[in-house]
Symmetry: C2
Subunit: 824 residues, 2 copies
């Protein structure tokens, strides 16, 4: 069928007249016969399906389609999108392209955020922000309709069959349905009912393209759940046993309110897990019989000291395992994506690799912003055999290479190399000075002295308003020193090199702030005084001193995006709980409520304080009352109160059980469930966070230990040389395809080469090292096994692709109709 | 020199008449010429050194000395005693033997305990126990003199040179000296002065033979310290920066007592690390400006959420590394010990291995309680080549094999095999029933139903005295079921097999207790009512259901000794802190003290409670007053209050800063140092404990994953067959050496063989798997590398022993004087 399309491709019809590495492009090329899905549509020649692209059935168009599909495959590989969501025909492709750009993503995100924020305006809501029923219900309906539109685009892209098999989408659709009905009910009834389903609105946010990290976190949490739940059951089991024991032992003591019923006994042992009621819960029985402490000792040792640690160990272990499996599956997924893309880019004539022309076509779709020079450099970097074609084996490195940023290696070592002799010598001197160890350590000393100075100075101050005083001379002295340092470094290294180091940027920022602070002090500009207090941040510079600290900070920065996404995940859980809490417990707790509960004191005491003491503590406990007015405060309070740094710790703060008891005494006993479930969910997420941090650090430490001998690495660097002829060749190629706009930069390179009389230019490709690169190195030996195992599995599954993996040529046996045109 | 000793050994002079594997013992054997150290003494023929053993310079005696020295080497290898403490001559040997038996160890231990407990009797001490100055000072002097005696024995054994190079001993000696002087000063002055050096008394306990585990823990703690301190400095560094920032930001707010001075700011941020003052410390500034919570959020995120986790990661990583290195060094140490021992046991005539006679001689010293049969079985188990000699390669397995417990494999499968047919069939039926899955799951169901029953029953009770009621029928029903199960199992499996499983023992104990409880209820014996409340423990049986739980419990039991030793280590730290606290802060805090501090409320409040509320809370805060009268309570309070389950957690309980502030307000600001250092030390130890539990579980999970396919293991099992001739041969050998008492058991075996007409008996050697075995399997590949590296290192260090490792024969090139007697 492929043979029927015109063989002459406009791009190449000038024949093999040009010289250079690109001149072996034959005039007629055919896509390999297992072409893209969209060609298949053409092949089927169904008029209905062909409306968008079947009309223009030229080979050029086919190639364009192939490029696009290959780019989509590569994107899917990169984003870990499963291939069953791959757009199957031209119509799907259009929908796919519509649904895969930043405008659409932004729409998704803003709709989701709008829906989430609506909770602020709905009753019971923040009074300031409260909107009329009509307004917020209409807004909600509007947002929901946008979501419907998004979903319909997705259905168009996925096809109905795939759409209903895609779980997340189905959940989203059903939540959408429920929300829709509820919104209409609200409009009809003109009043808000108990809408705890609003807690489900989070799913719209989670499903956003930009929240991929959150989805990954959630998946990881769910994957870690089974072993976690096992151990949690163990924990609860022991709790029940101890609750029964405690009830039998301590309930005869009528002055002990903690064990008076089995329920109290259970609840108090649960709270004891968080240690927040520890000494109190023991005291009544301890006062009766000192030996009763044995009960608590054994309970705490087993539950807190042992099982909680076990929980971390299990999650940590699972986490490690998941991380490795995830890495493996992503690696293999990328490999498959590359195979798919490769199959679309080879030609019948030359099945052993991809020519630059097709590679360039792919990159036009895969990375539209890449310039012609970078495309060619990427091609060169991939092409390790230095032939004109990129083989599959080389193409496997696509993802590693495509991220590189290319720069011509400068001939000048320093920025001042072109200056006159005298100036050169001066700057050279500064450069040497700035790079010397003596200079560095002098600066460290200055910073340390400054730190001690600040400490002593601050110690001497005893409160009061520091800003009304004159500018202290020490401030000026140290600032001058830093200014001189900044000046020397900038001139010695050149501004570009100076600012290329994160530490220098930090120095610069801190010095700048200090200077602004000085100005504020000098000109008495009160609003800017806060800048002055940033001075101690200078001390952070001392971290450069020790390698371990540098490592820690590097890891910290590496972890940051992941931590942020974990934080967001936690916030999403909080949102759900806040909605539920708001619906059920809004306004339940107030001063002097709860007189019947064991925590009556706390509420009474607060009220008492309000009466005749400081205003500071006023309303602290009745702030925790789930009134919508403060659910944001509530969130932040919970977030920072009830939070455990670490999984085991469960260090929900001193007060959480007071809130729980207060609410319970005003509602039913079942509301305790809410608090306990909240605690457990928080515990799960926090455990994951701890396990994650542990894993990251232990991984890095292992990595460092394994590569102790290797030098300190500055990311991945690749060097490629391009000769003048090559550049001219590419320019020719682009000119022929009348893409003249792209050649300007290339011509600049030629001009520069002419100017310096060089025959070639060296380019440096650079990118920072990612976790994936580290993992690649760590699991070096295993990766080869995975590949083999994977290709074996593939062979057995899809006999059609039997020769696909690991072999350089012939992803598929070529058709007999293959032309015998020779290359060159 | 060796050639001068008489060649005829009495044991073997009957010549080679007997048959069997033992008859190749030639009449004349000489120890290999690089004989033991004690022979060297003889060689030097110094009359002074020879008083104890040089007189009897027969070969027999030399052999005995060699056996003993080899046994000592093997013991040193096992206990990880360094070889430079090896007794170097006969005098040292005598001292060594004196100092290495349980009587001596017990003396050490009791002296150390006496010294520790003396703190209870010295002022400021528990009034009840207080003794007169004369009494306790005399007791102390007596204990110290005993320690002097112990040290002098050690010096005699080590030699003066080694003695002063042995750090721990030198520390002990200097502490001893200080204690001695102080005790005399106390006697002379007739009053106790501030003796914080009493905190050092712990060293006597730590140095005890029985506290080896504590020493190992301390070593591990010290080894983990450098990276820990690095991160701790990071933590403190950020704390200082934030303290300065906080001071500048919040001190203008005069209603904020927490940041009024830099010192307050530092202390409060330190307390905030433990989250125990969290909401309060934020509230004053939060009330002024809601944005000030950002300061606390950032602080907590960095310090608690990040650096604390980092601390765990670092310790965990270091711990892992140390565990592996420890395993490696112990492995190599044992190997060296085996080489030393081997060199002492081979003869000039047969340098390629150890004969049974010498092996038996070694075991007589190494394991005196082993019977002749076991010695021979051990020999057989080691001897894999089935020759008459154990080569070095075989001998390397010594430690693995010597711990096996040998039992003749029973011919009868069940205990009832010998019973008449009918009885046999009945018991066989019971046996099959008891082992069937149906029976097991029925019992699980019964236990579960019982659990739910107890839960519901307990839930129905609402306090009161449960024991005055009649015996509930459910109790009787379930107890009957358990009784029947117990009976069936005992008869079906036989009592011995039944009790060989830990779970069965547990079942038995719980059922017995339940029965005793029933009796107590039935006969109204009030003091035994507590047994009834143990009923819920039955539920623990449900753990057998799931493999993960079985694993957890197994690991728990495996960890227990190590956990206990860690607990002891922690207690030792507490002792030190308790002494110091007692000396400085005894009686400092009392009701209504501390009115000037920020925690005045807590103290006043307590007093207030005492005045007109429950008695329960009375004196709770003034109990924490470092009065010696309650330092044990103090210990236990601290232990369970201020303890963090996990390293990061640092969950020092709600009240620790109240105690700190109370004490501080009554003494000086410097006393805060005491509390902070205590907190940090606790943190270190708890981190180690968490890392240890993590390591143990992760290791076990990795191990399980690695050996998923292998069956559930029941420890190490070895099978060896002994023929009748062999037994007779051994009996002959023993008879010749006139050790007739040892042959009785052997003769019994012969009789039994005769009875059943067997020509040989099968013996099973069994021991439980240790961590070392698991590590052996985990590091399988690396171990060979270690061995090679080790032998290379040894070669380069000690050219004399060049052929020692890994080769079967000729540890040392044999002397030319070697006789050419052939072995049969």
């Amino acid at each position: 069928m492929d043979d029927d399309v015109p063989l002459i491709l406009t791009l190449d019809d000038s024949g093999s007249g040009a010289s250079g590495p690109l001149d072996d492009l034959e005039p007629e090329e055919l896509p390999n016969e297992n072409g893209g899905s969209y060609d298949v549509v053409n092949d089927a020649s169904s008029p209905a399906a062909g409306d968008c692209c079947a009309q223009q059935s030229s080979a050029q168009h086919n190639w364009e389609m192939n490029y696009q599909e290959a780019a989509i495959y590569l994107q899917e590989g990169e984003n870990n999108d499963k291939f069953f969501t791959h757009p199957k025909n031209a119509k799907a492709l259009a929908a796919y392209l519509f649904a895969h750009n930043h405008l659409f993503y932004l729409m998704e995100l803003s709709t989701a955020l709008l829906l989430l924020l609506l909770s602020l305006c709905e009753a019971p809501a923040v009074p300031m922000l409260r909107l009329g029923i009509y307004v917020h219900a209409t807004l909600e309906l509007f947002a929901l309709i946008v979501v419907v539109f998004e979903l319909s685009m997705k259905m168009r892209w996925l096809g109905f069959q795939t759409f209903i098999r895609h779980k997340r989408t189905m959940v989203k659709a059903s939540v959408l349905f429920v929300q829709f009905i509820e919104a209409i009910v609200v409009l009809v009834r003109q009043t808000s009912h108990v809408r705890i389903t609003r807690a489900l609105r989070c799913i719209f946010l989670v499903d956003c393209r930009y929240c991929g990290a959150v989805r990954r976190n959630l998946r990881q949490i769910f994957q870690s759940l089974p072993p976690f739940i096992d151990i949690l059951l163990l924990l609860l089991f022991f709790m029940v046993i101890f609750a029964i024991l405690g009830f039998y032992l301590f309930s005869p003591n009528h002055s002990d309110p903690y064990f008076s019923t089995l329920e109290n006994s259970l609840v108090n042992l649960f709270v004891l897990l968080t240690t927040s009621n520890f000494p109190d819960v023991m005291m009544p029985s301890y006062a009766r019989n000192p030996w009763s402490c044995v009960f608590f000792i054994v309970y705490l040792s087993i539950e807190l000291y042992f099982i909680m640690n076990l929980l971390l160990a299990v999650v940590f272990d699972t986490f490690n395992d998941i991380e490795k499996r995830k890495f493996k599956s992503l690696l293999l997924h990328k490999r498959t994506a590359i195979q798919h893309a490769y199959r679309l880019l080879i030609t019948k004539q030359r099945p052993s690799g991809i020519s630059f022309k097709h590679f360039e076509g792919l990159l036009r779709f895969y990375k539209p912003r890449m310039c012609a020079r970078e495309r060619y450099l990427t091609f060169k970097a991939l092409n390790q055999s230095n032939t004109t074609l990129v083989s599959l084996k080389d193409f496997y490195n696509f993802y590693e290479v495509v991220g590189l940023k290319w720069k011509a290696k400068r001939n000048r070592e320093h920025w001042f190399d072109d200056l006159p002799r005298t100036a050169f010598l001066i700057f050279k001197g500064i450069n040497i000075l700035v790079k010397s160890r003596v200079f560095q350590y002098t600066m460290y000393t200055v910073v340390a002295v400054n730190g001690i100075w600040i400490l002593v100075e601050t110690f001497m101050l005893q409160g009061g308003n520091f800003f009304s005083r004159n500018v202290p001379w020490s401030y000026i002295v140290f600032l001058t020193i830093y200014g001189v340092e900044l000046l020397l470094k900038t001139t010695g290294l050149g501004p570009v090199e100076y600012l290329s180091s994160g530490w220098n940027v930090f120095d610069f920022a801190v010095t700048l702030f200090a200077f602004l602070g000085l100005l504020a002090l000098a000109f008495n500009m009160e609003p800017f005084y806060f800048i002055v207090v940033l001075r101690p941040l200078q001390l952070l510079r001392l971290f450069k001193l020790k390698k371990r600290y540098r490592n820690v900070l590097d890891t910290m920065f590496e972890l940051f995006p992941r931590m942020a996404s974990l934080g967001l995940t936690l916030l999403i859980f909080y949102y759900c709980f806040a909605i539920v809490g708001m619906e059920f417990f809004a306004g339940v707790v107030y001063p002097n409520c709860c007189n019947t509960s064991t925590v009556a004191d706390s509420y009474r005491w607060v009220n008492h304080t309000v009466g005749n003491k400081t205003v500071v503590e006023e309303g602290y406990y009745y702030l925790n009352n789930f009134k919508a007015v403060c659910w944001i405060k509530q969130l932040s309070l919970f977030f920072f109160h009830s939070h455990t740094v670490t999984l085991f710790e469960l260090m929900v703060v001193n007060d959480w059980y007071i809130i729980m008891e207060g609410v319970t005494s005003q509602t039913t006993h079942w509301s305790r469930l809410y608090f306990m479930i909240f605690y457990i969910v928080t515990m799960v997420v926090m455990t994951i966070i701890v396990a994650f941090i542990l894993e990251a650090f232990v991984f890095r430490m292992n990595y460092t230990r394994k590569n102790q001998d290797s030098e300190e690495d500055n990311g991945i660097v690749l060097e490629k040389e391009i000769s003048k002829e090559e550049v001219i060749g590419i320019i020719e190629l682009y000119k022929r395809s009348s893409a003249v706009t792209e050649t300007s930069q290339l011509q600049k390179i030629v001009l520069q080469m002419d100017k310096y009389g060089q025959m070639s230019t060296l380019f440096l490709g650079r990118r920072s090292r990612t976790k994936s690169d580290l993992s690649m190195k760590m699991y070096e030996e295993e990766i080869q096994e995975w590949y083999e195992e994977h290709s074996r599995k593939e062979e057995s599954q899809t006999p059609l692709q039997e020769s696909a993996p690991a072999s350089n040529n012939s992803l598929k046996p070529l058709s007999l109709r293959q032309r015998s045109q020779t290359v060159i």
